[in-house]
């Protein structure tokens, strides 16, 4: 089902906003993650962990789901389709994997933020809280790969897409 032009533009705007916003959210989170990895100051660690919990729960996770949903709508509602072109298919798989890892990590981040905010947590325990740097850096790389695929749209049709194209030509 091909969307009308006005609806397609709205969906495209929503997809661009949420996708780029997701990347921006991860970059902001990464700055906080680096601070956790390098700082020894308990007050800074408490503040940064609280900020990381809020950024993950209220910015990154909602933007990830919005990007995934709007991406599926954009694919299904245009001639690109969801499984017809390799760049769309790979983008979809990477986005799903990134979202699943994010949801798994968000729960952990929320629990660590709660521990950091607890006044009974000692300074040594605060310093011992494990950061999430490998996941946030890896996540950013995955998001940038998806962005490059979406901008350059390298050519290449899947066997399914090729069959669908033939069916449409013959009908």
């Amino acid at each position: 089902m091909i969307m009308p032009s006005a609806l397609r533009k709205f969906a495209l705007a929503a997809h661009l906003t949420s996708s780029v916003g997701w990347i921006g959210g991860v970059i902001a989170y990464l700055a906080l993650d680096v601070t956790v990895a390098t700082s020894e100051d308990p007050q800074t660690l408490r503040a940064v962990w609280t900020a990381m919990g809020l950024v993950a729960a209220w910015a990154i996770v909602p933007l990830a789901f919005a990007a995934l949903l709007s991406g599926v709508v954009m694919s299904v509602g245009t001639k690109w389709g969801l499984f017809r072109h390799w760049w769309v298919l790979i983008s979809l798989v990477l986005t799903i994997v990134a979202t699943l890892v994010l949801v798994s990590e968000a729960g952990v981040i929320s629990r660590i933020a709660a521990i950091a905010a607890d006044p009974t947590t000692s300074d040594d325990e605060l310093r011992a809280l494990p950061g999430t740097l490998p996941h946030s850096a890896g996540g950013l790389v995955v998001l940038l790969v998806i962005q490059v695929l979406n901008v350059y749209k390298p050519r290449g049709m899947t066997a399914y897409g090729w069959r669908k194209q033939r069916e449409q030509r013959e009908s």
């Binding site: 947590t121 000692s122 996941h135 049709m157």
Partner: protein, 70 residues
């Protein structure tokens, strides 16, 4: 946005058999496979732990676990 159909026209359109997997997809797959193998090798050889709960202080699995404080 590039023409969604026109971008793949040419050999794929006129062929009687499905198009072969593009080179960039094969290279991408190899790169992902190598990354996964490196990660697995690091886990097996270097003792690097990975997976859900690694950073979770409640699981006691992380390097800086503070499970006692939970």
């Amino acid at each position: 946005m590039r023409d969604p159909i026109g971008g793949d026209r040419g050999a794929e359109r006129d062929g009687e058999s499905p198009p072969s997997t593009p080179t960039w997809v094969k290279l991408f797959g190899i790169a992902v496979l190598v990354l996964v193998l490196v990660l697995v090798a690091m886990m097996l050889i270097g003792g690097v732990r990975h997976g859900p709960g690694l950073h979770d202080p409640a699981s006691g699995a992380g390097p800086g676990s503070v499970a006692s404080s939970v």
